[in-house]
Symmetry: C2
Subunit: 395 residues, 2 copies
Amino acid sequence: MPQFENRPNARRALAAAALMLIAAGPAAAYDELVEKREFVMENFVTEQGETIAEVRIGWEAYGELNAARDNAILIAHFFSGTSNAAGKYSEDQPQPGYWNAIIGPGKAIDTDRFYVISSDTLVNLNVADPKVITTGPASIDPATGAPYGLDFPVVSMRDFVDVQKALLDSLGIDSLHAVMGASGGSVQTMEWAAAYPEMVPRAIPVISPGLDMPPYVIGLLKMWNMPIQMDPNWNGGDYYGGEPPLTGLSNALQLVTLNALHFDWADTTFGRAPADEGADPGAAFDAAFKVEAGLQAAGDGRATTTDANHFLYMSKANMTFSVAEEMERIRAKVLFIPAEGDMIFPPFLSERWAEKLRAQGNEAEVFTVTGPFGHLNGVFNIAQASEAIADFLAD
Amino acid sequence: MPQFENRPNARRALAAAALMLIAAGPAAAYDELVEKREFVMENFVTEQGETIAEVRIGWEAYGELNAARDNAILIAHFFSGTSNAAGKYSEDQPQPGYWNAIIGPGKAIDTDRFYVISSDTLVNLNVADPKVITTGPASIDPATGAPYGLDFPVVSMRDFVDVQKALLDSLGIDSLHAVMGASGGSVQTMEWAAAYPEMVPRAIPVISPGLDMPPYVIGLLKMWNMPIQMDPNWNGGDYYGGEPPLTGLSNALQLVTLNALHFDWADTTFGRAPADEGADPGAAFDAAFKVEAGLQAAGDGRATTTDANHFLYMSKANMTFSVAEEMERIRAKVLFIPAEGDMIFPPFLSERWAEKLRAQGNEAEVFTVTGPFGHLNGVFNIAQASEAIADFLAD
C-alpha cells in the first residue's frame, strides 16, 4: 500500500488526492513530537529455522504505559508503510503519521488512556528513509561484511510478529489491549491473534484479506514483483554498490498505487486531460494522458527510497500468509473495517471471514468505510470508523 | 481481454476454468464451418488524417443476408480477440468462437433470421495466428518494403469503425439491425452508435466502459504496456527480423489475464497450492504458488502469437476512446450487459451511462451476468443474457 505523505514527488503528482484528503476532515497532529527508537535482538530464529545474527527494527509510541503494563495497543504497518502511524518526528515534517486522524488525546484510540506502540517490520521497503530502521536483504551480513542480498532468509508474517513480541517482552508487556493495522498491517494483526491468542483479546484488521492471502492477490503480488525482476539493474538481487533497479521499482510502485486506488480517484484527480496541454494523446504514439504522467511521477518519486529486494521479500511474506488452519486458536473479538471500492481486498473478504469466526463462537463485526480512494479509504478515511473503533476498544 | 480458446498452453494452465465454462451450459457449435474472408481497401485515411496505402482485414459471417440487405448484425471483437465469434473454421478446431453460446440457429442471435458479420480490427494482436488478417505496425509498408514499426500511424476506434463501414459498403449494406461487442468490442459498438447513428438502431455493449475510457483504465492500460516497453528486445518498436520481446509480452498478457478475471476464479482454479508439490513457497525465494505458475504459462503461451507493437497500438486506441461529447447524436436503444465482479469495467459504469442516455431520451436498459470470472463473465457466461438479447433484438 502506498505511503504518499512523506514523498515530495508523489505528493505533487497526487496533489488533488491530498486536497480531497484534507477536505475529508480535520487531521490535527498528535500533539507531542514523536521519538523514533530502536530495538535490537541477537540470533533471531525465523519460522523456517534460519538464524539472523542481529535484527534491528525501529519503533515509536504514543501515550503512556500504565503501571500494570496492560494498556498497550500494537499497530502494525502496511506493505509500503513505516512505524509512523501518528504525529511528527519534527515540526517541519509535512504530514503526520498515516492514521493520525484516529490516534491521539480524545481520539478513537485515546492516548490519554492507551499506550500505542507502532514498529517498523522486518524487510521494510523504505530502506533509504533516514527514520526507518529495519533488517533485510539490504542489511550488512556480519559474516561477510557485505549486504545479504538474496542470501537473506525468506521471512514470514510470523517472523514479523515474533520480532514485535520480543520488543514487547523487552518492555515487560505480556498482554495487549488490542492489535490493529491496515492492509499488510491487518495481516500481522490476524497473525498475532493466531500466534499469541492469550495476548490478543481484540483485533482490528482494516482493509484486510481475512485469515489468508487470496490466490488472486498472490497473482497481483507476482505482477508487482515483475517489473523489478525485469530490470537488468536488479541483477538477480545483486545490485548493492551498483545502480539500483529504479525503473523496475517505479513501475512496481505504480502498479501498487493504481491497485490501491479507484475509478473515482482517477476521475477526480486527472480526468481525461492530456499530460501536456495541447499534445493530443490520439495524435502521437508517445503523447500521454495526465493519469499516466501522474502514475509515473508517483512511482519515480517513491522508487528512490525503496529497496528492490525488500519489496520482493515483503511480497513473499504477504503471499505466504495463512492462519486459516489456526483459526480455532483465535480468542479475540474482531472488528473488520473494509473499504468500499477496494480492489485488493474487497469487502466481501471481511464479511466472509467475520462469518467464519462467528460460526466458531468469536465475536466478529464489520464496519465499512467509504470514499473515492478504493483500498486507501482504509487509510485516508479511517476517521469514519472512529466511533466503531472507540466502542470496540471500550469493552 | 484474453482469448483462451485457441491457445494450447493457456488452455492447459486454465484447464479448471475451461471445465467450469463447459459446466456452465451447453455450447453446441454453430453448425456450419465458418469461412474466413478478406476485405481490402486502398488509401484509407485515418481520423488523424494519415493515409495507409492498403488496409486488409479478415471477416466472417453466420446466416444469410436477406434481399433487402437489412438483417445484418455486426459483432466487434475485444482487445485480444479475433473475428471468430461463433463456429469453427475446421472440424479439428478445439473450441468454437467465443460467443458461440448465443450465435446460431434458434439462439439469442438467431442465424435463421439474422446475417451476423464479425471482423478483425486494425492492429489486431494475433498477428501470428494464421486465421487473422489485420493491418498495423507488423504489416509491410509498401513505401519501404519493410514492416512499419512505430511509423504506422496511430489509429483510433473511429478508424476501426470506418474500416468496418467500408466493408459493409462493399456488401451493399447501408443499415444494421444491431451492433454489439464485448469489452473493446463494446467500445467499437458505442463508437458505431455515435459515428453512424442512422445505421445503428440497436446497440448491445457487453462488459463496457460506457461512452468513454475511464481514466483509471487508462492507467491500467499504461501498466499493461509497461512490461513490453521494459523488454530490451522491444527496442523502441524495431524488432522485426530480430528477437521479439516475448518476456515483456508474456508479462503484459499476464496482467491482462489477471485483471480480466476474479478472486473466485483464482480460488477455484488454483487455491493456495504450491506450483511444485513439496516445494513450500515459504521456504525459498524462488518457490512459487500454483497461481503464479498458471499465470506464467498463460502469458508465455499467448505471447508467441501476439505482436508487441500491435498490443501497444490497441492500448492507444482504447485509451483515446470517447464519444461522450457526441452522445446526443446516438439514436440507438441500448442494452448494457455488465458482469458481476468485473474489475476492468465494473457494472456501475453501465448503470451510469444508461442513466445518462435515458436522460437525453434514449431507451437504455441494463442486464447483469454473474459468475466467478469477473470481466470474462461477459464472454464465458453470456448465455445468461440470451433471453434479454433475443427480446431486445425482437422489436
